[in-house]
């Protein structure tokens, strides 16, 4: 028995189920599954450039006869949706399991989309564990169900399940070897003639799965009925089951759905018939509720509970029991503490330079997204991975004069993910766009993973690295300028040069992430109070290590990494 992170438990489940191939792209709250999987020698693990590639890798391995897996966050499933929908038609050879991590409450995401819709739209079975023990158990079941029903299976977690630690039991790995690959174009080659026949198979499969969910899944413990007081019946899954149990205990009966797609009908009808008042408690959309209503089952759902954000036991207690807890308070002004670029972050100098140039900035997803916040305030749009590059081209098409005063900003990992195709578009369809690649040698925001530009693989072993300068030239862009973002003058001039050049340009802002262990720092800087004129120029870069104390600038020695960007702003040489 061990306390395992939900994501760690999933990785353990993969291991015990004999999984041999894992390919993923980082994304909070899914990242740790692949990091833990990579610790097992028996599993070939990798960071792929993006989730579409990752899912196709897992698919290829499955067809070749190896149990395979890929993990991603909810928006990552958007990227991998193409292989997802058609893998549903072909089915698998060895089991193929896909983990998607939703983020109700948007702790670390740009939206809170509900991935259960993908299960229904792609007609792929989806399991939803409630704690780490189930993460481990359902990961193993997922492979068995994948092979039983000849379908990929999706394992859905949410932030609280993925990032909570709870007790789970470890057992041994069982690896039954590779399944034989048999050539079968009617199964695997999805041209229309074959696909038509496969759709029939898919619809029958769903009926077979529903039958499984009604009876066998209950005997198996995947769907659970628990009768206590029958005044209140709760239909739920995943973490909301735990919140409901916490709030209501034995004052309610529970139908816990471990499989959220497809959903059974008779099981739910019979449960609802036994209870006086039935609630469907689900975070985000009315997925289960809609299924109930469609089948004539009377339930209370989104009329009582919100479509937005996370749930909790106190929310459920308030709605159902009308109960609220007492709590203490003060009238202290609770100042918000937003996340910021770390002291010494190379992105800081880059964004300050952009601010000085007064350009419009199409931004992207990563640590550098924080460049949008005060006082740097230098990003205009952030949509999704790679959008900075492609939307800049769109901006410059709308009005060609934009090209002299607009730039795109994208990180090295994001660029590999989906910036390259946007760059090809800029060259091929000819706008004078300026794309700035922030090369800090790591995938930072998700906790420091390697990517195809860093020169190392997931295990930290040396790997081939993409040459960004050569890539730009190969795309047809010859204006390639490399700057050091720790050098403000060089950075500002480099960007200016790129904007003034004829044709598209790529600026590479190159300096490793300040938190990397391999980076050597200078000693912390100090403000000389005799020279400091309190002009606050050094504060304009928003470094968390610099504040005003007793009317003079002050540098926190426990945070300062000696990057010297602030000293370049001081006209009085007060920073030493």
């Amino acid at each position: 028995m061990k306390l395992l992170l939900g994501n760690e438990a999933v990785a353990r489940g993969l291991y015990e189920a004999g999984c041999r191939v894992v390919s993923s792209y980082p994304g909070t709250p899914s990242t740790e599954v692949t990091e833990f999987a990579a610790k097992y020698d028996e599993i070939a693990s990798e960071w792929a450039p993006n989730e579409k590639v990752a899912m196709e890798v897992a698919y290829g391995a499955s067809v070749a006869g190896a149990r395979a897996f890929c993990a991603m966050k909810h928006v990552g499933l958007n990227v991998a949706a193409d292989p997802l929908f058609t893998a549903s038609y072909t089915g698998v050879n060895a089991g193929m399991v896909i983990l998607v991590a939703d983020d109700p409450g948007m702790h670390s995401s740009q939206n809170e989309q509900d991935s259960r819709h993908y299960a229904m739209a792609s007609k792929i079975m989806m399991l939803e564990p409630s704690d780490s023990a189930e993460c481990l158990d359902y990961a193993k079941r997922a492979f068995d169900l994948s092979e039983k029903f000849d379908t990929p299976v999706i394992l859905r977690v949410t932030t609280r399940v993925a990032h909570s630690r709870s007790v789970a039991e470890l057992t041994e790995r069982v690896d039954n070897g590779l399944k034989e690959y048999v050539k079968n174009p009617q199964k695997y080659v999805m041209m229309p003639a074959n696909a038509k026949g496969k759709h029939v198979v898919v619809e029958q499969r769903i009926l077979d799965q529903i039958a499984y969910c009604e009876k066998e899944a209950v005997a198996d413990g995947l769907n659970k009925v628990e009768f206590n007081s029958k005044k209140i019946g709760i239909i739920s899954s995943g973490i909301t089951y735990e919140y409901a149990k916490e709030a209501l205990g034995e004052n309610a009966s529970y139908l816990k759905l471990g499989c959220v797609y497809p959903l059974p009908v008779e099981l739910i009808k019979n449960f609802a018939a036994e209870c006086e008042k039935v609630y469907v408690i689900e975070e985000l959309d009315d997925f289960i509720e809609t299924h109930c209503r469609k089948n004539g089952i009377e339930v209370i759902g989104k009329e009582a509970f919100t479509l937005q954000g996370e749930y909790s036991q106190s929310m459920i207690a308030k709605v159902i029991l009308g109960e609220e807890k007492e709590f203490l308070s003060t009238d202290v002004n609770i100042v918000p503490r937003p996340p910021v670029l770390c002291a010494g972050c190379p992105h800081r100098g880059l964004f300050y330079s952009l601010k000085q140039l007064g350009v419009t900035v199409t931004g992207d997803i990563g640590c550098y997204t924080l460049g949008a916040l005060a006082p740097l305030g230098s990003i205009d749009t952030v949509l999704c991975m790679g959008a900075s590059v492609s939307s800049l081209h769109g901006r410059n098409l709308a009005d060609p004069s934009n090209a002299k005063k607009s730039v795109a900003v994208i990180g090295d990992s994001t660029f590999m993910h989906s910036g390259i195709t946007g760059l090809v578009n800029i060259a091929y369809n000819a706008t004078d766009s300026v794309v700035i690649i922030l090369d800090n040698s790591i995938t930072g925001m998700t906790g420091h993973q390697h990517n195809p530009t860093t020169g190392y693989n997931i295990k930290g072993e040396p790997a081939l690295a993409v040459d960004l300068e050569a890539l730009a030239k190969a795309v047809g862009i010859n204006n390639v300028i490399v700057v050091d973002p720790y050098n403000l003058a060089e950075t500002k001039n480099g960007i200016k040069q790129a904007l003034e050049a004829d044709g598209p340009a790529v600026v590479i802002s190159r300096r490793p992430c300040a938190l990397l262990k391999s980076v050597k720092h200078n000693p912390p800087l100090k403000v000389n109070p005799d020279k400091c004129k309190s002009c606050k120029m050094c504060m304009k870069i928003g470094c968390p290590a610099i504040s005003m104390k007793d009317g003079k600038a002050h540098i926190d020695f426990t945070q300062c990494l000696g990057c010297n960007v602030c000293s370049q702003l001081c006209k009085f040489d007060a920073i030493e």
Binding site: S164, E242, S312, C342, C543
Partner: protein
């Protein structure tokens, strides 16, 4: 609840606490928020234990103990304390960005305000004690020591959990930090 600023070492504290509780035979759930909140943002960990734990999160008025690594965070999360619960506060202050850029001031008199709310408060200068033990980075272990004193688990259980969680070459320093916090 263990609350603080990203980078202060709150995760280690929750590991040790979780490990100690598990050792005593309780069911345990620990909830962390990874990702953006690490970048100098507010970090919260919930630790729940009992015979069987359902929800992994703690809500307003539910925490028996809050271990706050920083003053403003203590004020931010105070409402999560049971009215008869205990809050242990490290007196260290870390300016949030709105204060750093000068658009607002760091609130004064936080410890007094928290005491005035009726909470049982223990304020500790963990940074000085950590430096005394050997390094400013041991602030989290000092605070774990203080928390251990306020909980009904045997001291040996804590020492064992600490020993299993820190690198051997730093064990002596960490044990000293723990004792300093425990013996306040």
């Amino acid at each position: 609840m263990i609350v603080g600023v990203g980078g202060q070492g709150t995760l280690l504290a929750s590991r040790i606490l979780g490990s100690a509780l598990l050792d005593c035979g309780y069911d345990v759930k620990v909830s962390e928020v990874h990702g953006m909140s690490q970048r100098g943002g507010s970090v919260v960990t919930y630790v729940r234990s009992g015979e069987k734990v359902a929800s992994p999160i703690i809500e307003k008025g539910e925490a028996d103990i809050i271990l706050a690594f920083e003053q403003l965070e203590a004020a931010r999360w105070l409402s999560f304390l049971k009215p008869d619960g205990k809050i242990i506060v490290n007196t260290q202050t870390i300016d949030p960005m709105p204060v750093v850029i000068g658009s607002t001031e760091y609130p004064e008199g936080i410890i007094d305000a928290v005491k005035a709310s009726g909470a049982d408060v223990q304020a500790i200068d963990a940074l000085s004690l950590a430096v005394e033990a050997g390094t400013a980075k041991a602030v989290n272990v000092v605070l774990i020591g203080a928390m251990a004193k306020s909980m009904p688990l045997d001291k040996e259980v804590w020492i064992k959990a600490l020993t299993e969680s820190v690198p051997p070459k730093f064990l002596e320093l960490n044990l000293k930090a723990f004792e300093l916090g425990y013996n306040i």
